[in-house]
Amino acid sequence: MAAEFQTPEFREYPAVPNALINDATAHLSPFIAKPNHQEPLGFPGELVENWEEKAVEKMGDLLTKYRGLRVYLDSCVKCGSCTDKCHYYQGTSDPKNMPVARQDLLRSVYRRYFTFAGKYFPKLVGARDMTREVLDEWYSYFHQCSQCRRCSVFCPYGIDTAEISMAAREIMDSIGHGQKYCNEILGKVQTVGNNLGLPGPALKATMAEFAEEIEDDTGLPVEIPIDKKGADVLLITPSADFFAEPHIDGLMGYAKVFHEAGVNWTLSSHAAEAANFSMFIGSYSNMKKVAERIRDAALELGVKQIIVGECGHAWRVAYSFWNTLTGVGAGADPSDEYALKLQKQLDPNVPQPMHICEFTYDLIQKGKLRFDKSANDHRTVTFHDSCNVARASRMGDWAGGQFDIPREVIKACCNNYVDMDPDTIKEKTYCCGGGGGLLTDDLMEIRVKGALPRMEALKDVVDHRGVNTLAAICAICKAQFAKVLPYYNFPMHMLVSTHQLVGESLVLTGSNQEKALQPKQEEPAKEDEAQAKAEE
């Protein structure tokens, strides 16, 4: 159970800036990783002896590796544009949750050790020594950032707080001060193949249950294949799709789409995970290791295409980094023989990787999917743009495709669709409150408080536009909303997976649903005849 705290009150909408409450969430700090979580990832088990020195050394290393980091640390002019843009700031009123203040936690140390003014006149430029107090503050407030990058949309210099937060976490990991949630999970994905620690036999048994459920519903043997050699498509999806609700209903939606499209697809038990939390902790080496499991599976199974399920940060990793990490997409290192091999194996005529929403959208465009939209008529749907999809990736081949495609998919299968306030969607979308490695019970307070702006925008369309369904395309968003909706007096079951809406209205050829629809389809024909007669 989570510790006691007060759920924020809804503010007048649209909200005005909060009165500041100093150190309102200074007490929040996630569990620290134990040696058995740290060491398998290549990090020291616990805080190293000369950690102050090591932290500064690591910062220096990152500054030479990541040019952007130095630019972000140097270029802030304290204009204030970002201050009220962070959902955690809005939900907590803690000034250290203003993006600029969060950056300054690292910037102050950077100035002390890496700038002329900070070395000689630290007080004049707000430069600070690397001390225990600073480390504790970093640990607390860099785990109150979901790396959603909303602030960077409003920064005139494009300073990316996510990069700074990733760097801070990387430094902390390197001195033995990591976060349990992310690092324990990364250990599991690297040994078992997924975040859950779901072993192959359990995965197979679970998928057999889901296939049975689809068959009971549709009357069709819709397969969910695992480790099928010679399949054309490898689906890489978050393991929450195998375990949690409403994630599972999204997975069944994908299976129905593949079935109807006649695609020969498979999951992999070796790489049964799209999530790659290495991004949250800024660890390139771990990100590569996790991504390489997917390459291993793709090479082993001989697939021609890789499709990614509903997962926000995974799509950022897949879309933006898989090409150079593994060879999925163009741009592999010429010395990386496996990347080159995979590039040759994958079909160059389709996007590599492809998002499941792109796949479904294409089929809709080609008229290959039939929907009974009335199956979703009890719903008025709104869509939550996931931060990493919205601000760090793309779908389709046009600007804003990542906003249009999921909406078009939903509109193809639902009659009632409403967007939330334009200031809270698309590139200005609010984080669900649980992204960036914060989706853990020990951070429930910041998760609930950080959800405030999204919950307010939701309440607006619930109260005024009749919305009763919130659709998401990210495993983290779904798990987060399932937990926080009740805190704001919304029913948990208003949350759905986007492909759940697809799956529940898709009319599969030869299915029970198709048979049930047939009499209905004849009726308009009769009317036409009657009309034709009347016209005669």
């Binding site: 569990f31 949630y181 999970i185 975040n195 859950l196 929450a240 609700e245 599972i248 989706l439 798990a479």
Partner: protein, 111 residues
């Protein structure tokens, strides 16, 4: 390491109160874990806990929520085979809260 006292035995638990060594679990430990979650155990609760432990024994992981609801539905009737019923028994969520009481490791990931 934190511990939990069960009838004179000191059992190790992690920072969130999950049992470290699941072989130390017995009904008395389950009762004690339920108390820490403010859950009053009834026969209906134990039916779920027993199923979780059996499933874990076979697969080394807790079942997906849907697998759990289906199994409960088959065993106890369709009116109980839904997540609403499970949430009534385990308000903080059947996956985590019921696992904790069953002495199983906490499920991790985006759940």
């Amino acid at each position: 390491m934190a511990t939990m006292n069960v009838a004179g035995r000191e059992l190790e638990v992690d920072e969130e109160g999950y049992l470290i060594d699941l072989s130390q679990w017995d009904r008395a430990a389950g009762e004690e874990l339920a108390k820490s979650e403010n859950v009053e155990m009834t026969d209906s609760h134990w039916e779920v806990i027993d199923f979780l432990r059996e499933y874990y024994e076979e697969y080394q992981i807790a079942p997906a929520v849907r697998v759990l609801t289906k199994a409960i539905g088959k065993k106890l009737g369709p009116e109980k085979g839904n997540s609403k019923y499970l949430y009534e028994l385990f308000p903080y969520g059947p996956a985590k809260q019921a696992c904790k009481i069953a002495g199983l490791p906490k499920p991790t990931g985006c759940i």
